[in-house]
């Protein structure tokens, strides 16, 4: 059951991510982003991280809407971006460079088969019994990561001050 759900959701997630990159209409791209983020939220749910999943939905629903507004204001959507590609030469270089990167990754993966195992992933730390549940997240945020939590608030304050500075009209 879980595996089946995972497979379906993962396929949809990857497909929507691809569509996001490949569609030229920015609004359609943003809509595919919604689908993609929703799928990721479901993946979180499958891992038992309910809080993370729902927080993701709440935050990204708002974030995507802002993206929409920006897309409309900045990109003049509806008209597909056409005309000569200003970066044609870079596009030609992309293929060999991409192949090179692929080769590199293959080499690294090949070389690492001798030791450490592919991925070399360590076991994740045990955070309580139900990691990702709202209680454990709360404990982490206000316990071990209290300082980072507070720094985040200062970061947001700085962003707020910055936005106001840039947005306000030249006074007097």
């Amino acid at each position: 059951m879980a595996l089946g759900v995972f497979l379906i959701v993962a396929i949809v997630a990857v497909a929507s991510a691809l569509a996001l990159v490949l569609r030229r209409n920015p609004i359609h791209g943003a809509l595919f982003l919604v689908v993609n983020l929703g799928c990721v939220a479901v993946l979180y749910l499958l891992l038992g991280a309910e809080f993370l999943a729902l927080a993701q939905v709440i935050i990204y629903a708002g974030a995507i809407m802002v993206l929409f507004v920006f897309a409309i204001m900045v990109l003049i959507p509806g008209k597909e971006e056409t005309g000569p590609d200003p970066l044609r030469s870079q596009r030609l270089m992309a293929v060999p460079l991409g192949l090179f990167l692929l080769l590199e990754i293959a080499l690294v993966l090949w070389g690492s088969r001798s030791g450490g195992g592919v991925g070399g992933a360590a076991s994740l730390p045990q955070v309580g019994v139900r990691a990702g549940g709202i209680e454990s997240v709360g404990r982490l945020l206000l316990g071990d990561y209290l300082f980072a939590f507070e720094v985040t608030s200062i970061l947001l304050l700085a962003a707020l001050v910055g936005v106001l500075t840039l947005a306000k009209r030249k006074s007097e």
Binding site: V34, F51, L54, A55, G62, M65, V69, G133
Partner: protein, 322 residues
């Protein structure tokens, strides 16, 4: 599994029925406020078949798609708009044990899902390829994002008081005293919740996104027939859902003497719905800047302060603060 499917089916149909009749209630209520009679002719007594007739009429109307519309987006929008409005009922407990899934983080689920609605709304506004629809959608983004924050913050006050995000536990914590009856905190929170509710439902006086005098009908201006019906259904369902949430958070849900729990619950939800309707027919629309100003300059600081006060009070009560 099968049980869940059946429950969900029954629940969905019940909600559709209730919501259909909410429109009737609203029309009658509005009519009374304006010394009219309201729908009277279809069905006796008092035109009780009117909502059914409306639904049938919309069903058989022609479905028009504007020639230059962004077709897939335009066609999907009503569905994307509708699904979250129904999903929010997944965690609503109508009585102890009577509900689809009483999640541990029920309230969070409610907030997350209802925040998705804006996506459908925006798709409709964008897909119609109509300037009024687009303007309306842009306004909606402004407004809904602005009011999301105070809405969540007011909803958190009962959570603090109850010490849980599980909706049934929040209701149980009100056995004895409903949260709305808590001195000062309760009433203030309830009023703010109502304000945020009205704004998140885009109703008068916060209905700038469908201000008929400037934007014709807002984001749904191009929709007709069945799709229009779906949008309308979604709006009223959402309204009913938020009313239910208000009843759960502040009015003690199913708790009450004499009558069975679900009846109490529906009565309370109806009460909140009528309260909102009352506001709707009493006030005039306010300007965009006033709406945003109210959210960011008044509601947000006020709800934050109230949340802090509540937290302090809860700490005091539990003895964490000497």
């Amino acid at each position: 599994m099968i049980r869940h499917v059946i429950t969900a089916f029954v629940l969905l149909n019940a909600i559709v029925l209730i919501v259909t009749y909410l429109t009737y209630v609203e029309r009658k209520f509005a009519a009374r406020m304006q010394s009219r009679i309201g729908p009277y002719r279809v069905g006796r007594p008092h035109g009780w078949l009117q909502p059914i007739a409306d639904a049938l009429k919309l069903l058989i109307k022609e479905d028009i798609v504007p020639a230059l519309a962004d077709r897939p987006v335009y066609n999907l929008a009503p569905i994307v708009f509708l699904i979250p409005s129904f999903l929010i009922f997944a965690t609503v407990p109508f009585a102890p044990g009577l509900g689809l899934a009483d999640l541990n983080i029920g309230l969070l689920f409610f907030l997350a899902v209802s925040s998705l609605e804006i996506v459908g709304l925006f798709m409709g506004g964008w897909g119609s390829n109509n300037k009024y629809a687009l303007l309306s959608a842009m306004r909606a983004v402004n407004q809904i994002i602005s009011y999301e924050v105070p809405f969540v913050l007011t909803a958190l006050i009962p959570v603090l008081l109850a010490g849980s995000l599980k909706l049934s536990l929040i209701v149980e914590a009100q056995r004895g005293l409903w949260f709305v009856a808590y001195p000062v905190i309760g009433q203030l929170a309830f009023v703010m919740f109502l304000l945020a509710t009205i704004a998140s439902e885009n109703r008068v006086p916060f209905d700038i996104l469908e201000a008929e005098s400037e934007l014709v009908a807002g984001f749904r201006v191009e929709y007709s027939g069945m799709k229009f019906a779906l949008i309308q259904l979604a709006e009223y369902t959402h309204m009913f859902g938020v009313s239910c949430l208000g009843a759960l958070l502040f009015l003690g849900g199913w708790l009450g003497p004499g009558l069975p729990g679900p009846v109490w619950f529906l009565l309370k939800a109806l009460f909140i719905f009528l309260l909102v309707t009352w506001v709707r027919w009493s006030f005039v629309r306010i300007r965009v800047d006033q709406i945003l100003g109210l959210s960011w300059k008044v509601l947000l600081p006020a709800t934050l302060a109230l949340l802090m006060a509540t937290g302090f009070w809860v700490a005091l009560r539990s003895g964490h603060v000497a």
